[in-house]
Amino acid sequence: MNNSEQGYGARLKEEVIDPGFCSVCGACVGFCPYIKTFGERVGVIHDCKVCEGVCYRVCPRSPTQYHVLRQEVFGASEHDPVFGAYKAICFARAGSEHLRSRGQYGGVVTALVTFALKQGIIDGALMTGGNFTKAIPTLVSSVSDALQCAGSKYTSSPTLGLFQEAVKEGYQKIGVVGRPCQITACRKIQKASEISGGKISLVIGLFCMGSLLPEFYSFLKENHLDRYERMDIPKDILFQGAGGDVMIPFEDVRRFIRLSCLSCYDPLSELADVSVGSTEHDPGWNTLIVRTAKGMDMVEKARFTGDIETKAYPPDLLNVLREAVFNRKKRVLECPESMYLDVPPREKDYFLTAGGDA
């Protein structure tokens, strides 16, 4: 079919979904009847050819100019090619012991959402509940709801598919916790006034080196791993439960990593207000990157109220993180499949030829 005859739905299908670049963020779902998601897959049911392609515009895997989005989020703030724009990087954890015990690591994400809800910074949040055997997109409006979503699910929850529901239900200041693709989508959604994108008012990004295909769920079942309580990927895959722990080699699940994730240039959720990851060192703590003024303001206040605690990032560990992310970005820029990516030549050079020397 000739491209000019195609609607945006068809382009989304042909350029993103069919080749496997969809990360199931859920951004294109929910505002039109033609795109639906079940079982962590997204499908374009019918090429509507009518609207101005909101679905395509908000997709994190449609052509994406990171430098333009950065400009819009951070203005002229200084930008680190590896870590992105940031105001602070530190170790952090939830102030509450209870929260920490529920969180994946230090529980910072849960603590910050809880804090933002209590403070009225947001009136609702799109989060991911369920557990590692089934991720469930969840619209939360209370502290207890938020707590129910603690813990990482390593599959691809289409959480943003609930955004329109939140809008319909009247939420005005919506927070989002998401993977980097979802954070990119949030920034694109914020510009789409026809779907009330402006109602997204806080984005908390996760570090993410990739999410897993839904076939992973069958793998868990087949290998009786679904009876464990918690899953983590320190290096290999760790399943923890009352009856003891088990570790399976990462290689066993490599085949479940989404193609879209292999071409992701944004492991640290660079466009978020704050980004949260592991420390790769101490499972009781998180890495926290504070990026925007809004993020900074919230983190400062949360620290003041004791909702979170922070401590300095050990410089040697920061170098480890820098190197890992550098290599990741370099690999993605070299990968010819990363067609959606529009990175300025200078930035490309930094990774591909200068070898990290700006």
């Binding site: 039109c32 009847p33 079982g39 897959r41 499908g43 019918h46 609207c51 026809e194």
Partner: protein
């Protein structure tokens, strides 16, 4: 008060002149002939025959909606074996299903009058094909009678029983849609046979053996003899003429009108052949002799034409020119032997033979083309609230989300519409009843040769009992991998809501134990889920999950046919569009409810530029409300 046709059929007295449709006339004929056993698998345009006969008390007449045509014919034949008169009714396609038995039984023959009524559907008004069943009758060596009018349908039905008993074999009464579904005045006769004793004495055996082939042949020879002076073959117009139109069935009327229109009454002889197989050769030869032109008028293909041309070849008759479907001279817009006959086709053919320039009154072809362009294209449509629409949307949604471009093997029922626009062009294959699971099973074996697309088949509930079960067993046994979606609307909807084994209602409308689809499926060891397609999200989600499961699996979409539900006059739900919530053309849905969803209950208000509901039409299912992206459609329970 005005009586329904079936009341006239059953209660009408001899000498009454009543308006009946062709099917009712056949039913009346059968009753007058003393029929005691009537069975059928419903199929348009034949369904009203047994529907009507089922109103007779079952002490007088046993009626049955069978699960398919072959068991139906076997049952009716059993009654014939016991000396009773029996009728078995089917549509043309059904004769294929019954054929295995028919070709066997017809060797040994039967006893009580056995009439197989087959209703063809030229133009396929309510069928996927316009089968000419006479060719099957010929293959099965069974005589064929073809009525030209509703009145004659009654008379032929009675005669067919007599012929059958005379030759000791079955007789086919071939109707077509224009007989079965048009109305005509019929003068009722009196019952000719009161006997209703079934007896099958020891030693009366009915067997099939190759050598009985000769019996079947001899029976045809006997039938031909009987047909020569049976009164159903006659001529009209001048005794001596250069040109004759040989016609059968409804084409008699078209030919008659064409001759009158062209003012050729004095020049053309009309030869009506009512017994089209075997042909009454003496009768036809008497009319062929001395002819210069022979024209043929029949529905659908060139059956009598072939027979008569062959007769000509075997006799020394001088030069006659033949004009028909074989020669290509009798042809409508679809060309010869395709599509339904009509008066225009016959006028055109006669005008051609006579070199007459004839212009049809009315618009010129150019004007017709111009006006046709103004008429919006009209697709087949499903009823408002039809659960199939919801089911199709769920399947379409699930296939899109699943992302592997599943192949959809369709099947036969109202849901044939799944092949076209109104069913979102979902089907990739569509053939006969039961074909879906067979094709799905075959496709699912081709993974080893590189076929990567998964397979889904969609079948109906009545079809399930008719022809799907063997396919499922075959699939399960052979290790197939496909999802079979059963659209269970609790009745045989397409043909007029006859009950089936799952309905829990007998042919007489009395409650019986329902044979549940899920029980059968699970009995085969096949996993089975049941979902209401109106719960469209769950429906699509369930398909998405099930297509990924290995092996063969069945998903039943259960929701009563919207027409049946409406007739029960349940409390209807009111559905309306909240005008403040509908975003009109600004929505970005592209008028989903009217342009894609396509339920007749969803309409567009061009004045306000917003969606609306035609409350007179809306069935209150509320599925559109669950799909509207703006949440603008509201469903309200009404007391």
């Amino acid at each position: 008060m005005h009586k329904m046709g079936w009341q006239d059929v059953i209660e009408g007295r001899p000498g009454d002149r009543v308006l009946l449709n062709g099917n009712e006339a056949i039913a009346r004929g059968a009753l007058e002939a003393g029929v005691r056993y009537a069975s059928s698998y419903p199929g348009s345009p034949s369904s009203e025959i047994v529907q009507t006969l089922s109103k007779v008390p079952d002490s007088e007449l046993y009626a049955e909606w069978s699960v398919n045509e072959i068991v139906s014919l076997e049952g009716a034949t059993a009654a014939s074996f016991a000396g009773l008169r029996a009728i078995c009714v089917m549509k043309a396609d059904g004769l294929n299903v019954a054929l295995d038995f028919l070709t066997s039984m017809n060797l040994g023959g039967c006893k009580g009058g056995l009439v197989v009524t087959v209703a063809d559907d030229p133009q396929g008004h309510s069928s996927v094909k316009e089968y000419d069943s006479r060719y099957l009758a010929k293959a099965a060596m069974v005589p064929v009678l073809e009525p030209s009018t509703v009145e004659e349908a009654r008379a032929m039905a009675i005669a067919a029983f007599n012929f059958s008993e005379q030759i000791k074999g079955p007789v086919i009464l071939r109707s077509v849609t224009r007989i079965s579904h048009s109305r005509g005045l019929v003068e009722l006769g009196k019952s000719v046979r009161e006997d209703k004793t079934a007896s099958l004495p020891a030693g009366d055996r009915f067997l099939t053996k190759t050598i009985f082939h000769m019996k079947a042949r001899d029976r045809l020879i006997k039938a031909a003899g009987i047909f020569e002076d049976c009164g159903f073959n006659y001529s009209e117009g001048p005794d001596k003429a250069d040109t004759a139109v040989f016609c059968s069935g409804t084409s008699l009327l078209y030919a008659r009108e064409a001759i009158e229109t062209l003012g050729l009454n004095d020049e053309i002889k009309l030869v009506k052949v009512g017994t089209t197989f075997p042909l009454p050769e003496k009768f036809i030869l008497s009319h062929l002799r001395g002819l210069k032109n022979a024209i043929f008028a029949e529905e659908v293909r060139s059956f009598i034409e072939e027979g008569i041309v062959l007769l000509y070849a075997r006799n020394n008759l001088g030069k006659i020119c033949f004009y028909g479907k074989l020669s290509g001279d009798v042809a409508g817009v679809r060309g010869p032997a395709c599509g339904e006959m009509n008066v225009d086709i016959m006028i055109k053919a006669l005008a051609k033979v006579y070199g007459i320039h004839y212009e049809a009154p009315g618009y010129t072809p150019e004007k017709t083309a111009e006006l046709s362009a103004l008429v919006p294209p009209r697709e087949y449509a499903m009823c408002p609230g039809c659960p199939h629409r919801a089911s199709f949307w769920a399947v379409k949604t699930a296939i899109a989300v699943d992302g592997r471009n599943s192949i959809v093997a369709g099947d036969i029922g109202c849901y044939c519409l799944g092949a076209w626009d109104t069913g979102f062009n979902l089907f990739d294959t569509l053939h006969c009843m039961g074909a879906g699971p067979g094709i799905a099973s075959g496709l699912s074996k081709l993974g080893r040769f590189g076929l990567k697309r998964p397979t889904v088949t969609i079948v109906g509930d009545s079809t399930f009992y008719h022809a799907v079960i063997p396919g499922l067993i075959n699939g399960q046994y052979s290790g197939s991998d496909y999802l079979c979606v059963v659209l269970d609307n609790s009745v045989t909807a397409m043909t007029g809501h006859q009950p089936h084994p799952g309905s829990g209602i007998s042919v007489y409308g009395r409650p019986v134990n329902a044979i549940k689809i899920e029980d059968i499926v699970r009995g085969l060891g096949i996993p089975c889920k049941i979902v209401d397609p109106y719960d469209n999200f769950l429906a699509a989600e369930t398909i998405c999950a099930m297509v990924r499961e290995p092996g063969i699996k069945v998903l039943i979409f259960r929701r009563e046919c919207a027409l049946v539900a409406a007739r029960k006059q349940r409390r209807k739900r009111r559905v309306y569009v909240d005008q403040s919530l509908c975003r009109g053309d600004a929505c970005g849905c592209g008028r989903f409810c009217v342009s894609v969803w396509g339920c007749p209950g969803n309409i567009w208000d061009h004045k306000t530029g917003k969606a609306n509901i035609d409350e007179a039409v809306c069935a209150g299912c509320g599925v559109c409300a669950s799909l509207c992206p703006a949440g603008a459609i509201v469903v309200e329970e009404v007391e």
